[in-house]
Amino acid sequence: MALTDKELEYLTETAWKIRRSIVQTTLWAGGGHIGGGLSQTDILVILYFHYMNIDPQNPEWEERDRLVLSKGHGGVGYAPVLAEKGYFSGELLKKFNHTGSPFGMHLDRHKVKGLDASTGSLGHGLPIAVGLAMGAKLHKKPWRTYCIMGDGEMAEGSIWEGAMAASHFKLDNLTGFIDRNKHCIDGCTEEVMAIEPIKDKWASFGWNVLEVDGHDFRQLAEAIEKAQLTTDKPTVINCLTVKGKGVDYMEGKPEWHYGGLDTKMAEEALKSIDRLYGKA
């Protein structure tokens, strides 16, 4: 079902709050992968605040949907989502990256409630998600597994091992997302290691392939629902996103893959986000 205006408004408001929280958290953390943290935001928001069947009061509920952030460096963008969803207090984010804190750049499922897998080493998340989806099939349970991958991560061989297995085992309960922000650490993906034609690659591996504007909730909703209706094969949604989305001085800049903020930069970033959402 298409999103209602009210649902769209709720998701937009949530995304605004979370983008602000990502900036705050990056400031508290002394630095973080803010560029990719902001490009993945809308994918996480629509999953956690609209589609995923989860209970923040019971994070280990067996029937819950699972999400694996294969681009594990997105932790600084992911923890604020879990806090907003109610897994833990947002106050805890003030300790992000501090010695002994539950939160670091790459999140640990033993320390962060709501996390279904510890990730960080690229190329690992999709195979874990494949195992989870196989587990749901073995249990004969309807819960779904979502896996968000980075585009730079497409250069990892293990992604394609997982891709091959997911279609081999007909995992229609698995939906992949590519955060196609077009950048990795050393520059543009197409200059560092070209991944295009990425849709053709996934299609040739037996996946149902969709493409959306990764910041458009209506397009994301339509694609996620198509994935849910697809049988006998997994779906991957190539989400065209902007690195640093919402902060004008970061958008599309590879140098903002990882960065630190001072108070003034954070203020400017918050103002930019407010302008994006018409809050200024």
Binding site: D108, P127, G131, M134, L138, S158, G162, M164, A165, F169
Partner: protein
Amino acid sequence: MTEQSGLTYSVYDTDHMTPTEIYGHVLAKLGEERKEIVALTADLAKSTKIGKFGDKHPERFFNVGIAEQNLMGIASGLALAGFIPFVSTFAVFAALRAGEQVRTDICYQNLNCKIIATHSGLSFGTAGTTHHCTEDLAVMRSFANMTVIAPADGFETANAVRACVDYPGPVYMRIGRGFEQTVYENENYGFQIGKAVTMHEGSDITVIACGPCVLQAVEAARTLKENQGIEVRVINMHTIKPLDREAIIEAVNDTRKIITVENHSIVGGLGSAVAEVITEEGKSCRLKRLGIPDIFAIVGQTDDLYNLYKIDAAGIIEAVGELLGKEVEEDDDWEDEV
């Protein structure tokens, strides 16, 4: 083995089945009782014998093709979904090709995955260095949360496979290619993960061995006793981690001379683990590590390689003679010098 023999293996069975075959049968049988057990391999169902589980429980058996990183990743996903995955491939691929997945996906997440790695050490001698694995103990025992087991023979493999099902967290077990002889007469000797077994009593010198080298050590001890009256204590240190420190300290106190023997590099394996305990204990002790020296082993028949690298009975006898001729400083004298 007959179907009626259930989980108990006899000499008849071990005469007719290799340790890897016993592993396959034990796992298949366990799968009947424990529905949460799943099994995975990477195109080595037949070679590792995990396929025997697949024959009995095809719905819980997954062959992921020649993709070891994916093998470990999928296993961790299945463990996160509540299953107990048993994963089998050759040791060199489990420990090295997929080493980071084992470390990060399985050990860091402290998942209930049991890796049964076959063709370890030089057991696949003729396959050449690409298929030897003389580094896995060093790598695996350095991973936090990991339990590391090297069973001596088929009986011990059966015991260890059963024991690890309910042993929490990740387990790495290294077995051979499947042609190893037995050292035990049956399974009933009180196998316990982390508890070494004294195979031969002795007070002159101690040989601490694991895997197929246990049989070599026992044969060496018998020969030395018969021919020279030398009393060699032989300890089967089947669990490399957690190590039975007490058995080592007791041997140091009783015999002051220790030889370790393993089908593994002398760097980082059983010998290193034993040396760490002895050094920390601070007791004077002569230690000789037998294993593959810091080289890539040559191609050859496994028995020939054992002889070449002196990890067979003859090599152990030679090392015992060498070490018995050496002095051990008394602890008191040593303290005076300090």
